[in-house]
């Protein structure tokens, strides 16, 4: 069983999901969990997937694992192509919304990411009813860049992310003030991802 790469597959977005849906989703879930539990670590995720461009493999793996009919998605405009929409609708059965504030998962390119306070941040009784922002970034490494502190980090961790808006650190600081509400972010770069849970503090 191999992934097809002929023109019709590319153009209609109907590509296979995980080879083994159970194993694939379990492994992707583990990667996402590790990334959230240990902020600043970069995990590999979704490398086996064939995905319609410009959706990245790790971002697709997160959707296949976590998005379903109860988790609306929002796509930034470079991602809002017909093949990507068809792929997500077919594989995840997740509704696609036009407004980022209605989404459980907001999928964006780095330049086009919504402002963090445009996303759902939960309410005081249910702070978990917040959005998770998935951002495809051009470069993601764990040396250099920000210094991270907080739960899951023994002393400090480093994470270098490129392509984000220049005021991302300030937006993140304001997001942290909303705790326990707020949003969480997953950075994806091809088949790798890293996460910032809302409790992580960024410096530099």
């Amino acid at each position: 069983m191999q992934a097809t790469s002929d023109a019709s597959a590319e153009s209609d977005g109907l590509l296979p999901g995980f080879d083994d849906p159970v194993q694939g989703a379990q492994q992707a879930f583990r990667a996402i969990l590790q990334a959230m539990a240990r902020p600043g670590t970069v995990q590999s995720c979704g490398a086996e997937l064939s995905v319609p461009a410009p959706l990245g493999e790790a971002m697709a793996a997160v959707c296949l694992t976590l998005a379903d009919a109860d988790a609306p998605l929002w796509l930034s405009s470079p991602l809002r192509t017909a093949p990507v929409e068809r792929y997500l609708k077919f594989q995840c059965n997740a509704p696609l919304h036009d407004a980022p504030n209605a989404a459980s998962f907001a999928l964006a390119d780095a330049a086009g990411m919504p402002r963090l306070n445009d996303l759902a941040s939960g309410d005081d009784r249910y702070p978990d009813r917040s959005a998770t922002l998935l951002v495809e970034v051009p470069s993601l490494t764990d040396d250099g860049g920000w210094t991270l502190r907080g739960p899951g980090i023994e002393t400090t961790a480093r994470l270098a992310v490129e392509g984000l808006p220049s005021d991302f650190a300030e937006q993140w600081r304001q997001n942290g003030e909303l705790f326990p509400q707020g949003v969480d972010v997953v950075f994806t770069c091809g088949a790798r991802l890293a996460a910032l849970p809302r409790t992580t503090r960024l410096e530099g």
Binding site: T4, D6, A7, S8, L14, L15, P16, D20, F90, N93
Partner: protein, 167 residues
């Protein structure tokens, strides 16, 4: 798992009672959906020149809510959940996508039905698959329904009411 969000045909054709004409695809998908797994396997084995395919969605088992109408034309109600297995495939040569939903838990049944749905969409294959698979299945299903109707009909009691003539 909720399968009924995934519809192949437009709502207009499928939502109300099946009074109008079914499209050809609806008809053959219906025949495949209600077919017997062993019977389909037998007819499948009798076909030659089957193409290669890849799985878009590996066969997976879930539940759908079957709905009925009282008397066949009243309000809809939830009859009960039935086990359904679905599969989606793409033929490697032509890129045609086939979908199938079959009753029961037989994954191979679902995969064969999906491949047949794809083949039936190809104009040069439709006739031979219709003749070799769909027609025999549809005939067998019609026979089974007729037999059941006859058996049930034999138990029908014709009541005659006798009114007492008071005047």
């Amino acid at each position: 798992m909720d399968l009924d969000n995934h519809r192949q045909e437009p709502q207009a054709a499928g939502d109300g009672p099946q009074s109008g004409e079914l499209s050809a695809r609806q008809r053959w998908m219906g025949v495949l959906a209600k077919s017997n797994g062993a019977e389909l396997a037998r007819l499948w084995a009798g076909l030659d020149g089957l193409p290669g395919w890849t799985r878009l969605r590996a066969p997976e088992v879930g539940m759908v809510m079957a709905r009925g109408r009282i008397g066949g034309d009243g309000r809809r109600f939830n009859l009960g959940e039935i086990t359904v297995t679905r599969c989606a495939v793409r033929l490697t040569e032509t890129g045609t996508v086939g979908h199938a939903y079959v009753m029961g838990r037989d994954k191979q049944h679902a995969e064969r039905a999906a491949v047949l749905d794809a083949l039936l969409q190809e104009p040069d294959q439709t006739a031979r698959i219709e003749a070799g698979v769909i027609r025999p299945l549809a005939d067998a299903a019609a026979d089974a329904r007729a037999r059941a109707a006859r058996k049930a009909g034999a138990t029908k009691v014709d009541f005659t009411t006798v009114t007492r003539g008071e005047d």
